[in-house]
């Protein structure tokens, strides 16, 4: 199981993957709005999304857990 963490602080604008869905490395799985910019967050690794830890509109700080991805 691998963890995808927020690369910077911001608000979750939308979640582009669902729990149980297979994602591949480099795929945008989430958009964070920060400094008025839309920032695509890409999966650093492929796998099945096990849990989404954030919700749309919520604040995330740098280093916060966004998704856990299983094998």
């Amino acid at each position: 199981m691998k963890e995808l963490k927020a690369s910077m602080a911001g608000t979750v604008l939308n979640v582009l993957a669902a729990e149980g869905e297979a994602v591949s490395a480099g795929q945008a799985v989430l958009t964070i709005e920060s400094m008025k910019m839309e920032i695509p967050i890409e999966a650093e690794f492929g796998g099945k999304v096990e849990k989404i830890h954030v919700e749309v509109g919520g604040f995330v700080n740098e280093g916060d857990l966004l998704l856990t991805v299983g094998e």
Binding site: S7, M8, A9, S34, M35, K36, M37, E38, I39, P40, N61, E62, G63
Partner: protein
Amino acid sequence: MTKTTETTGYNERLEQKLAKIFAGGQQKYHEKMKESNKLFVRDRLKLLFDDEHYAEDGRFANVEAEDLPADGVVTAIGKVNGETVCVMANDSTVKAGSWGSRTVEKIIRIQETAEKMQVPMLYLVDSAGARITDQLDMFPNRRGAGKIFHNQVRMSGMVPQVCLLFGPSAAGGAYIPAFCDIVIMVDGNASMYLGSPRMAEKVIGEKVTLEEMGGARMHCTVSGVGDVLVATEEEAISEARRYLQNFPANFAIKPEKIEAKAAKAGRSLEAIIPENQNAPFDMYELIDQLVDEGSFFDIKKLFAGELITGIARIDGQVVGILANQPKVKGGVLFGDSADKGAKFINLCDAFSIPLLFLADVPGFMIGTKVERAGIIRHGAKFIAAMSSATVPKISVIVRKAYGAGLYAMAGPAFEPDVCIALPTAQIAVMGPEAAVNAVYSNKIEAIEDPKERLQYVQQKHQEYKEEIDIYRLASELIIDEIVAPHQLRSVLSQRLSFYETKDLPLPYRKHPIYPV
């Protein structure tokens, strides 16, 4: 017939000695090298130099010891891309490339040669560190290992200094890469650390692998001590050769113009740049349209990707590019990106490489996390380096340039030789949304009808956009030129050739107080 002439005897003795030296350390260590895809030091040098030939000093160092050929380091002078360079290269088949007194003396001497000849100094590092048994002869004395670093600092900005890291660079030895202009690291084999994992476990109780703590990938992505991550030693050597093509032999010489090439075929800048200021796009695609195809040499590609730094050619003229990358962290500047930008500017400015800034920046990051990490002092490094650079500086406002982001990207106040705006440019203290919110938030909240409130906000956005309209800024002489995106490459090429003669005297003083 008997072989009795004295000459033959002398030569035989010499040849025997040479054969032993050229063979390096014991066979088992050569085999170990092969297993981990490492090349023998003399094979590395053959790949590095133009014609496989080089002159070597101190070849017979420690020859009487029998088991320490060249005392574990080859120091040589030869040609790379037709230009003379000096090289030190550890031989890790000899006592794991560790440093004895003669090893250190040889490194110091080749550095002195590089300084006297005013040519680049290359460090091919693959060393376990000091020979502790020899410490009094090589560690604390006047011509001990410290002198190597002292020389590096002295030569910094005088001649290019390049580190190719093939294996470990341990403890004090880790400062060789740290004082170089650029560090190329081989993935899986290269490492840098002050204390080994074994020492970390003994001294502070941490259990960690070498790769996690000091591996090439970690240093090129997280710490930023590494600049270029490569898969093989052959690639490291060819990247070093490619890097050096952009540099003069020393600070007093200007870099040479090479044959021009067309830019890579691709979409026009008009198609690449989204109209919506907040939407991401890939700045690399834009850079490809500005530079000669295949000329971009990316520095710290994997570190602080929100700021791209690299050396390229435009119509054969060398240029150092700093560009915000909207695709990564929105192109917002952080402490790491500020460090990255500052070092890159220092590098280019030292060797007369003009600077091109491509601004699309929402500003420096805000929030508790970055303030506690000292983003103000990191940002100050970047702005100070940019501000004190005396090479030609061309500032291009691609899209937004907000707040101190405008300053860092060589905005008008920092004496760029020209500040060019694309029609998509937007220069302001902050973006329309943030500004309207900051100025009118009380009024906005007081309007109860949501429709009316939205109308009011939109009206204020419109007014704000008119105030910062790029033609208004051009009319006020804040920016010097507005250029159609598809003409940018030819405009830049022309400007670079016009600014070749730039000669700015340095302020009279010893040196500034660097904001570090």
